[in-house]
Subunit: 335 residues, 2 copies
């Protein structure tokens, strides 16, 4: 490995002078600078960011902890985070927790050791420990997509409750009464909030929902499939389904199909999270979509403003608007 010392020797100067050239700092005679530049080029010298970071106490590296990197919603976030970060000279380490709190904790420890400058976190659960850990060590953190109840922490997300309210109200207005909601993990705010929104829509319409219609599960296609099958076996099966994310929706659809039910003729299906147009042949699903790209961008910028010390305001919550798109998967109930 070539070091700054090798370059110095090669150029007949001290290491310090090389450092000055590298960082464009202090005074270096033009002629000396050229000699150093030449030496750098000749030796193919690459400065060691580790050593530099050890001094600066700055790695220019962020961490993005996601629960499911195969979900396009999160992929889009990942992409926009990467873009926003690299624009400002930061790299991003991606971590995938699979919705597991244990994995999240494990990653956090490694990332702390690696001295990341900041963390973007989609928390696996509403557990406050991860956030506390980071805050104790004054590593800036921005929570994405989900809420951590009883925690003062920067957050960028959408209004899950409102979105679910809109979807449910829309179905109620179409005349549905037996509406099922397919939640994800019970320990995650988006699940809880979306179910709350569902309940509010019923309450405001002065209608009752059956306890049977409200289900938790996972944010996976398999879970959507399983729960839908259960619901179809009820004495009074739903006439409409609200899936609390895109994967659940796809699993639900498969179960409906297998049961010989036509969407939207026999049942309606609406969902959270759009699937990017680049991925589907026929956008079909009525959805409340989240601006994933914007979420990632704003979260990153907020994080960077924190760790640059330029932003010392109290923790803030940025709520981005949802967009409801009515497509062909929803219609009035069968008479």
């Amino acid at each position: 490995m070539t070091t700054i010392g090798d370059v110095a020797k090669h150029a007949g100067v001290s290491a310090m002078t090389v450092s000055r050239v590298l960082n464009n700092y202090g005074y270096v005679k033009e002629e000396t600078r050229e000699r150093v530049d030449k030496a750098i080029a000749e030796l193919g010298f690459v400065p060691n960011a580790l050593a530099r970071s050890l001094r600066f106490k700055r790695t220019n590296t962020l961490a993005l902890i996601l629960t499911d990197i195969t979900n396009p919603f999160f992929t889009t976030i990942a992409r926009s985070v990467e873009d926003a970060a690299s624009e400002k000279g930061f790299n991003v380490m991606f971590c995938n927790t699979d919705e597991s709190q244990a994995k999240e904790t494990e990653y956090l420890n490694v990332l702390l050791q690696k001295q990341v400058d900041g963390v973007l976190l989609v928390p696996a659960t509403s557990n406050t420990e991860s956030i506390s850990l980071l805050q104790e060590r004054s590593v800036p953190v921005v929570v994405i997509d989900r809420r951590i109840p009883d925690m003062q922490v920067d957050t960028v997300r959408c209004d899950s409750e409102l979105g679910a309210y809109q979807l449910t109200k829309y179905l109620l207005d179409l005349g549905h009464r037996q509406i099922a909601i397919l939640g994800g993990t019970e320990t995650v705010s988006t699940s809880v909030d979306r179910i709350t929104g569902y309940q509010r829509a019923f309450a405001e319409a002065n209608l009752e929902y059956s306890q049977d219609m409200v289900r938790y599960g996972q944010f996976t296609s398999q879970s959507g499939y399983d729960v839908t099958q259960e619901l179809l076996n009820l004495e009074r099966p739903p006439t409409a389904f609200v899936a609390t994310n895109n994967f659940i929706a796809i699993g639900a659809y498969r179960a409906l199909q297998e049961a010989g039910l036509q969407v939207p003729h026999d049942v309606s299906l609406v969902a959270f999270d759009d699937i990017p147009a680049a991925l589907v042949f026929n956008p079909f699903l009525t959805v409340v979509g989240q601006p994933a790209h914007e979420i990632g961008r704003q979260a990153t910028n907020l994080l960077l403003s924190r760790l640059n010390g330029g932003n010392t305001n109290p923790p803030q919550e940025i709520i981005l608007p949802l967009t409801m798109t009515i497509r062909q998967s929803s219609g009035p109930p069968k008479p």
Copy 2:
């Protein structure tokens, strides 16, 4: 920041002893170890991986350079790489080049500075420079998905030529003669190889294809859309399309739809790369699918075997099998 020295002081021992406890190495009296452990816990000490890496010359970090992190094919690879790496105690830095050689080069420089232990690279172009750069600095690298002609380098990929051959032959056997192939970037081996496979299928059938039918473009939905529109405006438009990746296929499909053409009744459409079942309502497309998960896993394991020094064989090329799945997007040409 708490350092090993603080812990030492707190426990009334030397830094070295703390280091020994941390790394479970050498002899430490049980009672001393306990005292140190207690101090670590009390101070909430987190070892600084930067300092450690500076000594060890090992960061336990890999880089994965992708061309498009929003493409599920690459997302799946990303996920399996992350899984395989974290299993062996490595973190992964993801980089997205957007198929740009300039971005690739830029990332490579940063990663070199950050002293990553190894690189997994989906090269943006067939340019040999990136690989040479890494090899000169003896940073192990495994090329994924694409071939770098005239380069001795570990590679994990599928046989693009064969896949395209199979798709084309299948269409020829159905009776199609006017078959278009929608390539991606011309500077990427997968584009070139898939077109070669197409040509071979024609050659073996003793048939001629029209030069018009062979198009390069980008690996994007937009490009698939544009090129398909062009092709439809030809005097003798294609009766079948081979898309060289999933995004191109979706763009092509949209163009066909807009032109009022029914798939497969009016035209057939087949493609490379499956879209994961978790993402689509009705798998519809006849495809040659690549085992993305396996590609990521094998590439990571190969890379790790290289940087552990356990594998000093000459560079190898691992070719994984493709799977052709015939669905509803293809059929015989309209009489």
